[in-house]
Structures are given as C-alpha cells and as structure tokens.
Amino acid sequence: MWPHRGISLQAPILPEKEGEIHIIDFDDENNIINKNVLLHQAGEIWHISASPADRGVLATCYNRTSDSKVLTCAAVWRMPKELESGSHESPDDSSSTAQTLELLCHLDNTAHSNMACVVWEPMGDGKKIISLADNHILLWDLQESSSQAVLASSASLGGKGQLKFTSGRWSPHHNCTQVATANDTTLRGWDTRSMSQIYCIENAHGQLVRDLDFNPNKQYYLASCGDDCKVKFWDTRNVTEPVKTLEEHSHWVWNVRYNHSHDQLVLTGSSDSRVILSNMVSISSEPFGHLVDDDDISDQEDHRSEEKSKEPLQDNVIATYEEHEDSVYAVDWSSADPWLFASLSYDGRLVINRVPRALKYHILL
C-alpha cells in the first residue's frame, strides 16, 4: 500500500472549518489510482505526518478559525480501520462515502498555539512526537495508546527578530536523539535528551528556509531549501560552508526529500511549479558504486517527454517534471517503492512519477 500518507499539505484547501485527507492508493501493477476521502473536521490542514509505528495513526497541524482569529493547532488522529488495512473494495464510490477521522488527542496547551509542524520519532514505537510552535520546540509523550499527550520537555529560542519555527525534521541517526529545525534563515540542531541546541547554521539560506531533510543513510548530512531558490547540502560537523549547493529552481523551493533507500536521489518541489529530481552522487552514501554502462539505452516506455535522462556519474539533474500548472507545495517519496514519488501543487493536482528506468538500473546494477 502506498503512500504512507506522506503528502497532503494544503491538499484541497477548503475555506471552511474542516479539511479533508485524501488517502490515495496507487496500484503499481495495474496503474490504478484509488482515492479515499477522510474528513478532518477540526479545520484546514497545514501539516501532516504519519506515525512510524502505527499505520492508522497520523498527526496534523490545522487552522481553526474562531472569532475572526486563526489558531493553528495540532492533534493526533486515527484513521478508520478499513482504510488502514489497505483494502479498497469500493474503488469508485469514494466520493460518496466521506469518512471521518477519529481524534486521539490534542497536542496543544494554551501556552503554545500556532503549531507549524509535527514530527514523529522516526524509528520509535510511535510514542514520541515533536511539535514546533512559534519559537518553542515541544517534545510530547503519547500515552495510553496515544489517547493522551504529555508534554515531556520543551525548549525555546530566545533573542530578537523573527523567531518562528517554520519546519523541522527528526534525524534517523544517533538513536533518534537529534532534531533539526528551521527558523527564518537559520538551521538549528537539537538534542532531544537535554533539549539543548547542538549546532546552529546561521544564514543557511539567503532568505527563509522552507524545508529540510536528513540523509537517511549518511549521518550528519542534511539538505535544506528555501526562498533563495537554492537547495543546500550540509555536513553538520562543519557548518560554515555548505557541502553542495543546487540552484536549479527559479522560485522558492518548498520541499526537499531524500530517497529513503538511495540517498543520491533528491527530490525538490518549488513554486516555479516544477519538480526536480537530482542525482547527488558525490555526496551520497554510495558515491562510487556504479560505473556507467553504455549499453543501457533506456526503453522509452516509462519516460516522460520532459525527462532528461543522463548518465549519473556526477551530480546532475535527472529530470525536471513540469506537469504542474501552479506552485508545487509538497513532494515525497513512496515509503514502499523507492522508485516512486508524488508531488502536489496548489491547484490540487497530484502527480505520481517514477524514477527513469535507466537510472534505476544504473543504481541497482
């Protein structure tokens, strides 16, 4: 089953007090797309993340409008059972049966509103979750099968200026004790045990940092993207200079994602309505792995006309996907199939793409 609900930022943004979650099944063999709609009645969803331990559990950040005020809250939800199991007996009547999420617990307290982001502990048992609220980073413990959230510890940024977290990621390395956050143009690393800052990359980007992601296979490596149209790769042991900088997009880059298994594949989505798949061989965990064979001229059946398939010996752009007509706000890899990824744009279009076959064989063989 795929996807693991990785994408849905503003998906269908409804100007009402509720949002929807679209569970989309993509059957690889038959190329069938199946959609299930879950109503999220608390408000429009701004951020979503799925529990790594329990497929049926997810956390959202959502807007609640009350008394002409917008509050951003976070909560943990459970999906209906039949969806969770991944069975889709009723493929075509999804529109008729809008089901509702079951609320497990709220992640707010009155002190901290304006949740920007919720992140689960990647390898854990689904008990720990981090939320970013204004200038606070909050670590929650979910108890009693997620029905109750207890604030375990918190830290906050002090100082002047715009101290609002925009994004955060939990590092899968170091026994899941590190979290990286972005605020304005700065990247910060935190130790979740002491809730203290471990590194800080000032002016990581010229403008606002929009997103970041950890290399899943290579500890200390981190990718970030921002309003300066750049994607930067950092080694957190040496934060003075980026390891590598990509400047392919022509507007703000909203998302950057490493492939979960082959970390040379990096996906970026931007408000220039392009999705770019890059091959960062030089800084991946398998840099020398694959020699170029000349004979694997790719069969064209899977290739989009826009794709520029190239020999992946050095860092390059594998393909630029221009199917979207408006800004792309979310991209993510499939958690099941490492060669599949999806992107979502403002106009509500979800595009699922595959890594070019030639490249796939390059990496595999």
């Binding site: 503003q10 269908p12 943004i13 409804l14 100007p15 009402e16 007090k17 709609v37 807007n63 409008t65 002409s68 005020k69 917008v70 529109s95 008729s96 809008a98 002016n203 010229g206 403008q207 300066d228 149209c229 022509s250 507007h251 703000w252 408000s271 220039d272 309505s273 221009e322 007509e325 408006d326 800004s327 403002y346 106009d347 509500g348 279009r349």
Partner: protein, 782 residues
Amino acid sequence: MAAAAAAGPSPGSRPGDSPEGPEGEAPERRRKAHGMLKLYYGLSEGEAAGRPAGPDPLDPTDLNGAHFDPEVYLDKLRRECPLAQLMDSETDMVRQIRALDSDMQTLVYENYNKFISATDTIRKMKNDFRKMEDEMDRLATNMAVITDFSARISATLQDRHERITKLAGVHALLRKLQFLFELPSRLTKCVELGAYGQAVRYQGRAQAVLQQYQHLPSFRAIQDDCQVITARLAQQLRQRFREGGSGAPEQAECVELLLALGEPAEELCEEFLAHARGRLEEELRSLEAELGPSPPAPDVLEFTDHGGSGFVGGLCQVAAAYQELFAAQGPAGAERLAAFARELGSRYFALVERRLAQEQGGGDNSLLVRALDRFHRRLRAPGALLAAAGLAEAATEIVERVARERLGHHLQGLRAAFLGCLTDVRQALAAPRVAGKEGPGLAELLANVASSILSHIKASLAAVHLFTAKEVSFSNKPYFRGEFCSQGVREGLIVGFIRSMCQTAQSFCDSPGEKGGATPPALLLLLSRLCLDYETATISYILTLTDEQFLVQDQFPVTPVSTLCAEARETARRLLTHYVKVQGLVISQMLRKSVETRDWLSTLEPRNVRAVMKRVVEDTTAIDVQVGLLYEEGVRKAQSSDSSKRTFSVYSSSRQQGRYAPSYTPSAPMDTNLLSNIQKLFSERIDVFSPVEFNKVSVLTGIIKISLKTLLECVRLRTFGRFGLQQVQVDCHFLQLYLWRFVADEELVHLLLDEVVASAALRCPDPVPMEPSVVEVICERG
C-alpha cells in the same frame, strides 16, 4: 676629251682637294669614301648628288660615272641633241678642259719648292751622323781605362778591410762580456732603483748566454751572482704583489715580470686570483653596506652604477689581465677564471637582487628600467670576455625576473585601483542620501570609474612599455621580444586584470544577502553596465592598444578578444540578474511583512490603498529612474490604449464565479481545478527568476515579477476575512494602475495580480468581492 673626262675629277669637285696621290686613283678613292659616308647617312648615291632619282650608276653616258664610255656618250649626244645644244656642250666641254689644265699647272708649281728643301735637309743629316760616330768611339776607350784603374785599387785595399772587420767583431764581443761582468751590479742597481722591468729585461738577455757558458768559472760566478740577485728581485716583486696596495694594472705588471722570471704560472695564477678576489670582495662589501638598513639607501640607479663601475669594472680588468697573462695556461686556466667569475658574479647578483627587491614596491618604473639597463649593459663586457661564466645570461635572467615581478606589481596596482574606484563609488553612493539629492548621477560615476580604470591601464602599459624600448639594452632579448609581450603584458597584465575585474564584480553576486547584503544595488547596476561597456568596446580597444604597443608575436596562444568579451558579458548579465534579485528581494520583503503581520480576518472595510503598496510603487519608480540612468529603455509588447482602465476580469467574468463559490460538495473541487487549469492553459508559464536582458524594461519586469510572485505566495498562506479580501482587491488594483508601465508585457502584471486576488478569494471563507467601481474610486483617491 674622253681622256680628260676619265682622268679629271668630277665637275663639282675642286682639283686642290687631292693634290697628292696618283691621279688615277683619286676619284676612285674619293668615290669610295663618299659612298661610305652616304651609306652611313642612309642616302642613296643619286639623292646625295642632287640628281633626279634613279639614274643608273652604270650609265655609260654619265660624264662623271665610273663606266663612262665616250663613244656611247657622243653617240647619245649626237642622236638626242639638236645642233645648238651640241654646240653649247662642245664649248662647255672645252672650257672645262681648259680650266682643268690650268689647275694642274698651278699644282706643279706650288709643290716644286717643297721637294727641293726636303732634299737639302736629308743631305745635312748625313753629315751630322758621321761626326757623332767618332765621339762615341772615343768614349768607349776612356771607359775601358777607368775600369782597369778601379780593379787595381780594389786589389790593394782587400787586405786591410779584412783586418778591420775582425777588429770590429772583437769589439762587440768585448762589449758583451763587459755587459755580463757588469750585470750583477746593474741588476742590483735596477733593483735598488725599483726599475724592475729593466732588471728583468737584462736578466732575460743574459740568461741564455750564461746558461751556455756556465762551464767557464768566470761566467759561472756571474751566473751565480745573477741568480742571487734575480731571486731577490723575484722576492721583492712578490712582496709588492702581495702587498696589493697598488691597483690592478700594477699588479698585472708584477705578474708579468714574475712570469718572465720563470716563476711557476700555476701558483701565480692562484695568487693573482686571490688578490683579485680580495679587491672585488671589498667592492661587494661596500655595495652591501649601501644595502644596509640603516643608511638611507641610494636610489637604485646609483646603486647599479656603483656596482657597475666598481665590481663589474674590476671584474673586467681582472679577467682581461688574466687572459692576457695566463693565455698559455689553456682551458684549465680559463676554467679557473670562469669559476672565479661565476662565484663572485653570483654574489653580486644576490646583492643586486636584494636591492631590486627593495625597489619592487616603488612606483618609478623609468628609474628601475634605467638601472636595469645599466646593470645589463655593464655585464655585457665581462659576459663577452667570459662566456663560460654565464654572467650575461644570469643578468638577463635577473632582468626578466624583475620584469615579471614588475608586471605582477602592476597587476596588483590595477586591481587595487579598481577596488579603490569601487570604494569611491560606494562612498559617492552613500553620501548623497544625506544631502537629500540624488548626488552625482550614476552615469557620471560610471564614466568616472571607466575613465579612471582606463587611465590606470594606460599608465601601466606605458610603464611596462619602458622595458621594451629600443634604447634599452635588453629589449632585444628573446624574452622581451616574445614572451614578455604576449604572455607577460597581454595575458598576464591586461587579460589578467580584466579577468580579475570580472571576478571581483562577480564576487558581489556570490554573497547574496548572507553577508548582510552590503553591496548597494546601485553599485551592482553600475558594475553591470561597466562590464557591458567593456564587452562592447573597451576590451577590444585595450587589447588593440596593447597589441599595437607591444607587437605581440603569435607564437604563444593568446586569449582571443571574443572569449574575454563573453566573460565580461556573462559578468554583466550575472550582475544585472543579481541586481534584479536584490531589488526584488527588497520589495518582496516589504510585501511579505505587510501580508504576514496583518490580521486579515478582523480587518476593517478598506477605505484606502495600504501605504505599503504606495511604497512599492514609489520604490519601483525609483528603481526605474536608477536603471534608466544606465540602461536603455528596451522593447515592450504593444499595449492597449489605456491599460489602467482595465477592470478585474476575475470579477466581471461569470465563469470565474465558481472559483470562490462555497463548494464543499465533493464535485466542486473538480470544477475549481478544471477552471483554474483552463485558465492556466491560456497563459504562459512565468519564469520568476529568469535571466534579464540588458535594458530597463527587462530589469523592471524581473523585479516586478519577483515581487508579485512573493505577494502571491504570501497571500496563499493566509486566511482572509471578507474585508481582508477586499483590501487585497484594492491593493492589487492599485498596483495594476501603476506597475504596468514598467514592464515589457503588461499581461504579466495582470496575470499575477489576478492570481493574487483569486488566491485570496480562495483563502477566504466569505468571499464577497468589492464592486469594481468602488475599487477604482478608492484607488484613484489614494
């Protein structure tokens, strides 16, 4: 009559013409001579005679002809002429014959006297010769007598002459012996007087004789004495030589004398060099003292002069003396001298280099070049003298090194000048803000910078050009003819500077905002224009200038003008793009703050355009003015006649109503997507941060695109109340009223603003748009 005609000359010729010679031959010869003359003048015989053309020369009737036949003539006359004519010709003929006869008589009379006198003369000569013969005979006898006497005298004197010769020989021998006996005392005297040369000469003269007769006791004694004295002499000479107080020529003399005394050359050679070394080291020490840090160093020209006259002159003397004295030593001696020169030369070079290194920082190139010239010129003499020591080559190397360093220095200077210009511009840009005026125009600043850089380049070229001036001795070295010009000046200095200028300029792009965005945008704009000017004209001008001045030969690959131009253009483009980004960012930040900090849900009904929008328009206008100072207008797409009057299509079009109509039935989003996609189908994709062209409109379009796209993205992140939406509507209309005039394609502005309003509408739970007419009123009022 016939005989007269045959013998007489032609009627036209006078008889006196040919007085001598046989009568019969005369006409024949004359005719021949005449004929040849006539032939020479190209005239036919007939014409010359004035007769009618074409008479037959063989005509027997011609009286003067060679083939005259009296019979035929008479016959002809008789046959052809009437009687009267016959009579006439008869009388005529008679008259002519008479005239001829009288002529002949006169001739005979005239020549008779001459014959007689000739005969007399011959007779007289005969008598005289007879007398002369007698006298000759007498002379011969006398001579014989004289010879006889002379022989007799010789015979008597023979004996005495032999005796005299013997006596003379004895006298000479005695003189020599006397010299020998006197030799010791003479030598002593010479030594005492210090006339060493004289002494050595005496010794040399006597040596062989004494050697030969040494078996005789008396000679032996003399020889012994002489040897003692000579040894003393040698001793003294060495003494003098060692003291070394006197100059090189005297020393050379000493050595020469010693050599003549047969002292071992090897040893002398060593000693000679050791002495020379002492002297030259003295010179070097004095040079080093000049180098010393404490005394005010004399200028480099003086220094090389000292070095040249002191050290190099000394070295020359030593070398010349050595070669003269020890020529017999062969290659080993030459090698020794070369090693000597090499060693001292290298020390001298080290000193010179130290001095030149002190000069590196200084500015006066002509002095340096003159000093180098002196230095190089001076070393040519020993160089020629001592080819093996490689002094000239080493000197050339030093000169080359200095020239290279000089080039590096000039490059540094140019860079510094460029940076200085930039600093000036920065100050000029920063200053006028205080004065409240725009200050010196950008165009003026640009012209200042360009001319100052150009003048710096020219000054550098002129300074460097001194190295290749004709009168400088090293300018004809291959390095200065080839590599210095092409690699050093053209590539190293000029191309290097232009490259570094581009790099410096680009470095302003590479630090985007991260270092505080210290670069003022106007500077970016100015640099961009500067680079563009370089691309269009200045680079080729400078390179042509260089090529002309330095006559670059083509053996080294040189950077073509086009490559440099491309680099400059790329730099200009990057700078301008960066300028657009920076300016776009400024406006974007303003817009973003304004959207993010406002509470759009609880805003009041719009009465005015928000101040920030006015500010945006003001800033854009300012940028427009700024860019307009440096860049041309550029092309726009054709505009509709009155763009500002355009109303928002989003609201007038009924088709669009569905976009923000309440729609949470599952089918509604489909429509929304469809509609928005259909709309997108008709519009082109907007590349926000696209490269710009070199004109004002393109720059402004870039800035406005970036700003509006930011506005769009920010609006999408907010939730709007009804009045919030209306405020956005008003703001957008206001922007549309003022921004269209700046961009290349006003559709772009419309499209982006429509998008903003549509997004705001979509983000609004209660989208009730304002009446377009009200919007217009508010905007016009604001």
